[in-house]
């Protein structure tokens, strides 16, 4: 399947503020095409704020966001999506009253031509949702299936960059195992993946690089192995030894 032209997502010195509250401060991150980058950190560290800034849901206070040569930080949300940056949501946001097929087709609205049944099936398969009935109402599906349909909807856009906001949340171990293959498949098809996740097993298994956020700032960056050994990261997650 032809993806959008391969471009790296580049985030430079990004700051996001809500009123006086600093959600992100001076964070830089590169998501290369075909690579999987993990974004981890305690609750409230700014992970979802970063995704919201990249997708145009919130305006950055400062910093630059670009996809290849294209600056994104001033574009409206739908224009950013049309340039090939798609996402899933921490709290699933399918079009609940529409069918599974309509949800996936909505993801492909900006792709020229109609999405035929075979292409629809293929997208569901790529998201490990091959068993889902396309005519079923999306809101009626089990939680794990809704997450996978949401990924299929994102893939339908033939994205350059896919931002996954806690895709393993609420999934059982078998589903999480299938999710590994799904995420690797997205990168293998040429798209860059930014994975926000609390499941460290999943992050270690699929990510090429990991950025750790804490209180809105970058705490550490490296391979999953380097991150796991980093004392600053261990301290942020587990607290300081008092003895």
């Amino acid at each position: 399947m032809a993806e959008a032209a391969a471009h790296d997502l580049e985030i430079e010195r990004l700051s996001v503020r809500y009123g006086g509250v600093i959600a992100l401060e001076d964070v830089s991150l590169r998501v290369p095409a075909g690579r999987i980058v993990g974004l981890i950190g305690p609750n409230g560290a700014g992970k979802t704020s970063l995704i919201n800034a990249v997708t145009g849901v919130v305006r950055p206070h400062a910093g630059r966001i670009s996809l290849g040569p294209q600056a994104l930080e001033r574009l409206p949300q739908h224009q950013i999506a049309r340039r090939g940056i798609v996402r899933t949501y921490q709290n699933i946001r399918l079009f609940a009253a529409l069918s599974v097929a309509e949800n996936v087709r909505a993801g492909a609205l900006r792709v020229p031509g109609a999405l035929d049944d075979a292409a629809l099936r293929a997208l569901l398969e790529r998201a490990s949702a091959g068993e889902v009935e396309p005519r079923a109402r999306a809101g009626s599906l089990p939680y794990g299936a809704q997450r996978r349909v949401e990924i299929a909807r994102a893939l339908a856009a033939r994205p350059a960059i896919v931002l996954l906001d806690e895709p393993a949340a609420g999934m059982n171990p078998q589903e999480t195992g299938e999710l590994r293959a799904v995420i690797r498949g997205i990168a293998a098809a040429g798209a860059g993946v930014l994975l926000v996740e609390h499941d460290m097993g999943l992050v270690s298994a699929v990510c090429d690089r990991v950025l750790v956020l804490n209180f809105g700032r970058a705490l550490a960056e490296g391979t999953p192995q380097e991150i796991a050994r980093d004392p600053k990261v261990i301290e942020a997650y587990l607290g300081t030894a008092t003895a």
């Binding site: 739908h78 999506a81 399918l94």
Partner: protein
């Protein structure tokens, strides 16, 4: 059947016009916008079409075209200030627009004021009305499988997620408001030509309420539902004339019954069984 039709021709005309109006509201409701300016669009088009017909001798087609264009232009202008409003705030702002339009119709020098505007050529009967209704229904049916229709449904379901798949939500809302206004405008001109006399009071809040009730009773986003709802709500007040002063109560009772027991309207009852 034919004698019955002949003796009730005014009622059949009213059903057709009210069905067009319900369809016009259902178009903007499909995008999730509670924009309640249909009566104002109808009135604006009715005055434009009628004044053109009386003063400049327009025929029915010219009158309908001019009225629909005027309603579309009004909708496009109205979309600017209301673009960021949602839900009840949008409803209140658009009802306010309707009141402005009504007061303007009373006071402008060309409308005949509160006394009304008369001598409109009585050249729109059931064929013109039902032709317009059939054309609108056919257009909506053909449109229902398009990408644009899916974008409208996605916008209704979740605006932010719709933007997230690249849908220009502002354009969807503008498009549905203008398309709804065109249909309301056609209905307004036909109304004027079928009744040969209009007053600003014909296009006030009670009219808007009547259109909204027809949509709720029929099922807010279904074309067939809107037509059925308009039919029921047009025939019902005639069928309960024996209640005299209390007959308006039947409208409220039916509305309450549908909201409580069948929130999907007539179309919802049908779909649930299917």
């Amino acid at each position: 059947m034919l004698p019955f039709f002949a003796s009730h021709s005014k009622l059949f005309e009213q059903i057709g016009i009210n069905a067009l109006l319900a369809l016009s509201l259902s178009i903007s409701l499909r995008a999730g916008s509670l924009a309640l300016a249909q009566a104002a669009f109808m009135g604006l088009a009715a005055y434009v079409g009628s004044i053109g017909a009386v003063t400049y001798g327009w025929n029915l087609a010219e009158s309908v075209t001019a009225g629909a264009l005027a309603a579309a232009a009004a909708a496009a202008l109205l979309a600017l200030p209301i673009g960021r409003l949602r839900g009840v705030f949008l409803a209140i702002a658009t009802i306010g627009f309707g009141e402005i339009a009504r007061v303007a119709e009373i006071n402008l020098p060309v409308t005949g004021g509160a006394e009304g505007f008369s001598n409109i050529p009585n050249d729109a009967g059931a064929p013109a009305i039902y032709g317009a209704l059939a054309a609108t229904g056919l257009a909506l049916a053909l449109f229902s499988r398009s990408k644009a229709a899916l974008a409208i449904a996605a916008t209704r379901e979740d605006e932010s997620a719709a933007r997230g798949v690249g849908i220009d939500v502002a354009a969807v809302r503008l498009g549905t408001l203008v398309a709804g206004a065109v249909v309301a405008g056609v209905a307004g001109v036909l109304y004027a030509h079928a009744n040969f006399f209009i007053t600003p009071g014909d296009f006030g809040f009670p009219r808007m309420e009547q259109i909204l009730v027809a949509c709720v009773v029929g099922g807010v986003t279904s074309s067939l539902g809107a037509v059925l709802g308009a039919t029921v709500m047009t025939v019902l007040p005639e069928a309960v004339r024996f209640l005299q002063d209390y007959r308006e109560v039947s409208t409220g009772a039916i509305l309450l019954g549908f909201i409580l027991f069948a929130p999907g309207g007539i179309a919802g009852l049908w779909q649930r069984r299917a």
